[in-house]
């Protein structure tokens, strides 16, 4: 028996894909009145081990090699297939997730199942282990290739551009007070960094720091801007807002110190850990603020530990 790999990705695809997408629509069927003596020819010429028996697209039963062999061994005279077929057929519906097909194949040990349309009961096709494996691999390959292409293009940008020094700059705009959209920039930044070939742990650190900064802008300011400068050796992030400013930065840095309004606390933020988290994630952090004008936060994260060179302003 085939054991299916227990990789989470495959399992997710098993739930995402439907039987309909993987089944074989090339239906070979026989009529109930077809004689047993003709069955061998049908099975052999199509290289199949069993075939559904139908009348006007309705599944009546299944006849397989084993039934044929039993009939031959018994030496009985020729008869209609409907007399020898199994009528108690285990079927699948086209709208079931593929994982049901995988489970049923393992449970019954059959090689194939007829696939029916749920509403009409009409026979649409058959599904085998091979069909399932082919579909899963195809889907995995497509997803893998799409991400690979993006990643390849992005990660070679530093080698492709000829210059004494290359940096990439991208910007994100933060809308203040829009709690639902907070985190969109950090999410986009994280994906972009990963495509640029940044080490996943570093991308995660940057994303956490920027997410906290973004949240601060959303909570306290009307809006702000994130500018990210990616060099081959380091990432520099600048978050600027036009908020109320921080009167006492030292106090604001104290763990647990917060001036967040109650509604923010009730949403699981504003407990006075944000700036600390940013500091923890950054290799260096500078914060400047003018009350009534706004706050400017600079974060540096080294991407290649051995060759860090901060541009200190």
């Amino acid at each position: 028996m085939i054991t299916y790999p227990k990789a989470p990705k495959i399992q997710e695809l098993g739930y995402e894909l439907k039987v309909r997408q993987a089944m074989n629509r090339n239906l070979i069927t026989v009529e109930p009145r077809t004689s047993m003596s003709k069955l061998r020819g049908v099975l052999r010429s199509n290289r199949i081990s069993g075939v559904p028996v139908t009348r006007e697209n309705k599944l009546l039963g299944v006849i397989c090699v084993e039934d044929l062999v039993n009939w031959l061994m018994s030496g009985a005279k020729d008869c209609a297939i409907e007399e020898k077929m199994s009528k108690d057929v285990v079927t699948l519906c086209a709208d079931e997730p593929l994982v049901h097909a995988i489970n049923k194949l393992q449970q019954y040990g059959f090689f194939h199942f007829p696939v029916l349309e749920r509403e009409s009961g009409e026979l649409l096709g058959t599904i085998t282990r091979e069909d399932i494996i082919r579909k899963l691999l195809q889907k995995l390959e497509i997803e893998y290739r799409e991400e690979e292409i993006r990643r390849y293009r992005a990660s070679h940008i530093f080698e492709d551009i000829m210059a004494d020094k290359t940096s990439l700059i991208f910007q994100y705009y933060i809308v203040g007070q829009d709690f639902n959209r907070a985190g969109e920039s950090s999410s986009a930044l994280k994906k972009s960094l990963k495509r640029l070939g940044t080490h996943p742990d570093i991308a995660r650190r940057v994303a956490i720091a920027v997410y906290e900064a973004e949240m601060n802008v959303v909570i306290y300011a009307r809006g702000g801007e994130i500018t990210v400068k990616v060099d081959p050796n380091q990432i520099r992030i600048e978050v600027e807002d036009s908020g109320p400013g921080i009167p006492d930065i030292e106090k604001a840095m104290r763990p647990g110190y917060s001036t967040a309004p109650e509604w923010v606390r009730e949403l699981g933020f504003g407990a006075g850990m944000g700036l600390n988290n940013i500091k923890k994630c950054a290799d260096e952090m500078n914060i400047t603020s003018t009350v009534g004008k706004g706050t400017r936060l600079e974060i540096y994260v080294a991407t290649k530990k051995e060759s860090v060179s901060y541009e200190v302003k």
């Binding site: 997710e12 956490i208 949403l267 944000g274």
Partner: protein
């Protein structure tokens, strides 16, 4: 502990995504997202138990790479946030137990916490 067992212990419903064989290494019970961001160890497969079912819970999981969230007290996020979770490949569960009860039950069955300390 695998997801199937976690679901069984918490009698949890699957909101989105499902892979019963997925291994979960640690559990974090928390409603403060900053704490989640700073506590969950990098590269660990973590389950987040929380009271909060809004967009930022999903974002936090995405940013901190937490593969599974289980909302307590039967809470469930709105459909747009379920979509966001799905897009990021997260698994969302919902249990009727309180945060206390859910934590207690999982710990009793051997689930480790983020600090990894344990007394039996």
């Amino acid at each position: 502990m695998n997801l199937g067992k976690i679901r069984q212990i918490l009698r949890a419903e699957v909101i989105v995504g499902s892979s019963p064989d997925r291994e979960i290494e640690v559990c974090c019970a928390c409603d403060l997202m900053s704490e989640v961001l700073s506590c969950v160890p990098t590269g660990s497969s973590c389950l987040l138990l929380t009271n909060l079912a809004h967009s930022q819970t999903i974002r936090t999981a995405e940013i901190a790479e937490i593969p599974v969230i289980c909302f307590v007290r039967g809470r469930k996020p709105e459909s747009q946030n379920i979509k966001l979770a799905k897009k990021n490949g997260l698994v969302l569960l919902s249990t009727y137990f309180s945060l206390y009860e859910a934590s207690g039950r999982l710990y009793k069955e051997g689930m480790p916490g983020c600090s990894g300390s344990r007394v039996s």
